[in-house]
């Protein structure tokens, strides 16, 4: 029988994959993808907890996360386009202008 921990484990693994992506990629668009992976991983965990505890709060959170993700993508992509117009690249190494 599939239990809560199964779902949590798969969520953890997906989250880690997303993390690896975040760490590894230098292209901003790819970073966005990796972030989406992480968000989705978390959503699974919420949905699973919601299910196994018979509590809708988890689903609500997942729901809001999706809303946040949507806004994030909308604004984020807008910024990416502006950046691309300005620098002609989306590589983080080229965008490092705030050196301390």
């Amino acid at each position: 029988m599939i239990g809560l921990s199964h779902y949590l484990v798969i969520s953890a693994i997906l989250f880690s994959i997303g993390l690896v992506g975040v760490l590894r990629r230098r292209n901003l668009l790819m970073l966005f993808f990796a972030t989406e992976v992480m968000l989705n991983a978390v959503n699974i965990a919420f949905a699973a907890i919601s299910h196994y505890y018979n509590d809708l709060t988890g689903q609500m959170f997942a729901f809001f996360i999706i809303a946040v993700a949507a806004s994030e993508v909308a604004v984020g992509l807008g910024i990416l386009i502006v950046l691309y117009k300005k620098h002609g690249s989306l590589d983080l190494d080229d965008l490092a202008s705030m050196r301390g």
């Binding site: 993390l19 990629r25 970073l31 983080l92 490092a96 705030m98 050196r99």
Partner: protein, 639 residues
């Protein structure tokens, strides 16, 4: 009567304020006159009080107003006029009057004439507070007040520059003034502690209330209070080891030396012991009292020995003051309080006279004080010569002058108490006293004329000054004759001041007196043979002898000032410097700054993390996240 008390107390204060009004303007002769008259009024009031007390025996006690009250502590400005304080009041106001008049002449050419009178009258006021107060804290007001006035007056010629110790042992007036103030402050701490002890154990500082409690106090408390108060007395009365300031204080104008550093302020310590006589005559503090007597005897001898070789006119008189203070303490320590008080009064008269005479010489010699540059001044300054000789005879203790009676009584007391060693020392010191005081007379007024060659043209002091000094001269002669009646007067105060010689001593009294006289005369004769003769046998300076060990030891005051400078002043300065530059700036502030520097440095080092590259930040974020996760996991496992 109460009004008279206020008059005696506040007349000098009014005089001081009046003179202060003109303090910054040029010399106005009436300032001196008004101040002198006001002091004279204070004297008349004191004398009336004394007469009244003698006639009626009623002690006047008044309470002016509250001063400090906090918690259970309560002290007010209260004044008492009893036999002890009235003696002091009369002596102080009398000598002050004479000195004020004298100063009109002496300070004639000084541009700070008005300021001088302001200070001098303020001093008299403080001294009156000191002697009249009916509680220890009121006494302390006067105690500190005279200290400040002494500081102002010693440093009166503040514009003089510092000199090397070899050229001028007192360095400069302002230096001497500071030394006097600080030394006195050291002693004042002792006095404050004494006040604390008395307050916490008796719950009051009123003399009568404190003394009434004394029999119920433990021995340790009594001893502690007696020691602490005596430390206070040691400072003001310049007892060893706090004595060096007194000779240096001679940097002040001569009237100041006469009034403060001979007749009145320095006797405040003796006065304190006499005032607190119920405490010092307790059986528990016998050891302390004996210590006081021994220290007094030691100082009497010690100061006299330094006076033997001194060349400075004023410093010799200062040493003699020190020596006589030693006598007074010897008497007070041995329990003969009234004799000490009597000697105090007699000493005030002849010592003030001696100082004022010295001032005349100084005035005549244009501030030259070196005895070796004088000689045979007698022919120019007959009046002064007579006064000084009289005073020296009194000091040397020859009958029938004042010094003989009082000093002889002290020496007799030492014999009576079976402290024969002290007795011997005191007798020997009496001989030395006679020697050095006549050495000074002979060197200045007799022998060969040495000053003309140096270009001095001495002249006698103003007439009115000499007339003004006459009361002192008269008193220096006659005071001793009233010893018996004074004894009757002061005995009324109570048992604790009463002191009688035993029958055995009484029996031997004449012989003892003769011994003292013999020593004194011997001293005078030696001085005469050595210094007073003219012609072939005239005194010549012996450079070789001045290189001798003892001579140099005495000349340098047993190297005590040098010792203080090398082992206290300089190390204190050094330690202060170290505390400031090393400890405070480097260690304490350094620690604070290094904390700040740590944060600054940490920021500076970690700044390189801020590459501006988002990828790097993400890496760091991940590291942080992993760390937090691990901590959460571990703590969850443990918890």
């Amino acid at each position: 009567m109460e009004n008279l008390v206020y008059v005696a107390l506040f007349a000098p204060f009014v005089g001081s304020l009046f003179a202060a009004l003109f303090g910054m303007s040029e010399r106005r002769i009436f300032v001196g006159i008004v101040a002198s008259i006001l002091i004279g009024i204070a004297f008349l009031a004191s004398a009336t009080l004394a007469y009244n007390l003698l006639m009626t025996g009623d002690v006047v006690q008044i309470r002016m107003m509250d001063w400090i009250s906090a918690g259970d502590f309560n002290v007010s400005f209260g004044f008492v006029v009893d036999q002890i304080s009235v003696t002091m009041m009369t002596v102080v106001s009398l000598v002050s009057t004479v000195v004020h008049i004298y100063a009109i002449g002496y300070m004639d050419h000084d541009k700070s004439f008005n300021r001088f009178f302001s200070y001098l009258s303020a001093f008299v006021f403080s001294m009156m507070v000191l002697v009249m107060s009916d509680n220890f804290l009121g006494l302390f007001i006067g105690w500190e007040g005279v200290g400040v006035c002494s500081w102002l007056l010693v440093g009166f010629w503040y514009h003089k520059p510092d000199q090397a110790r070899e050229d001028n042992p007192s360095i400069s007036p302002s230096w001497a003034a500071n030394e006097a103030f600080i030394m006195n402050r050291i002693a004042d701490l002792g006095m404050l502690v004494g006040i604390f002890i008395l307050y916490w154990n008796t719950g009051s500082l009123q003399y009568d209330e404190v003394f009434a409690q004394l029999p119920y106090l433990s021995d340790a408390v009594l001893k502690g209070a007696a020691i602490a108060l005596f430390i206070g007395a040691m400072g003001k009365s310049a007892q060893f080891p706090l004595h060096t300031w007194l000779t240096d204080a001679m940097e002040g104008p001569t009237p100041v030396s006469a009034l403060i550093h001979a007749a009145t302020m320095v006797t405040a310590g003796v006065f304190l012991v006499i005032r607190a006589n119920p405490l010092y005559s307790m059986e528990a503090v016998e050891g302390v009292s004996f210590f006081i007597a021994s220290l007094g005897t030691f100082v009497a001898f010690y100061a006299a020995s330094m006076a033997l070789v001194e060349r400075d006119l004023k410093r010799i008189i200062a040493y003699s003051t020190l020596s006589q203070l030693g006598y007074m303490f010897a008497a007070a320590g041995l329990g003969a309080y009234w004799i000490a008080l009597f000697h105090l009064a007699a000493h005030a008269f002849f010592k003030a006279l001696l100082f004022l005479g010295g001032g005349n010489v100084m005035h005549a010699m244009h501030d030259e004080l070196d005895l070796f540059k004088m000689g045979n001044l007698r022919k120019e300054m007959r009046g002064t010569w007579i006064y000084m000789t009289l005073a020296s005879v009194a000091l040397a203790g020859l009958p029938p002058l004042a010094g003989f009676w009082s000093k002889d009584a002290i020496i007799e007391t030492a014999f009576n108490e079976h402290t024969y060693f002290l007795w011997g020392m005191l007798v020997l010191t009496a001989g030395m006293t006679a020697f050095y005081s006549f050495r000074q007379i002979f060197l200045s007024f007799h022998g060969e004329d040495r000053y003309t060659a140096l270009g001095f043209h001495p002249h006698e002091m103003y007439k009115f000054v000499l007339v003004a000094m006459s009361p002192l001269a008269v008193l220096a002669v006659i005071t001793g004759w009233f010893m018996g009646s004074y004894k009757a007067f002061i005995y009324k105060i109570g048992e604790s001041v009463q002191y009688e010689m035993s029958a055995h001593t009484h029996h031997l009294a004449n012989y003892l007196g003769l011994i003292v006289i013999f020593f004194a005369v011997t001293g005078i004769v030696i001085a005469y043979l050595k210094y007073a003769r003219t012609g072939e046998k005239a005194w010549k300076r012996d450079e070789e002898k001045e290189q001798g060990f003892f001579y140099k030891l005495l000349k340098n005051q047993y190297y005590v000032p040098k010792f203080y400078e090398e082992f206290i002043t300089k190390p204190y300065m050094m330690l202060s410097e170290i505390f400031w530059t090393k400890v405070d700036l480097k260690i304490v502030d350094g620690t604070v700054d290094s904390i700040a520097k740590f944060f600054y440095g940490a920021g500076d080092k970690t700044r390189s993390m801020q590459t501006g590259n988002l990828s790097n930040y993400l890496n760091w974020m991940a590291v942080g996240a992993v760390l937090l996760l691990t901590i959460a996991a571990v703590s969850a496992m443990i918890g």
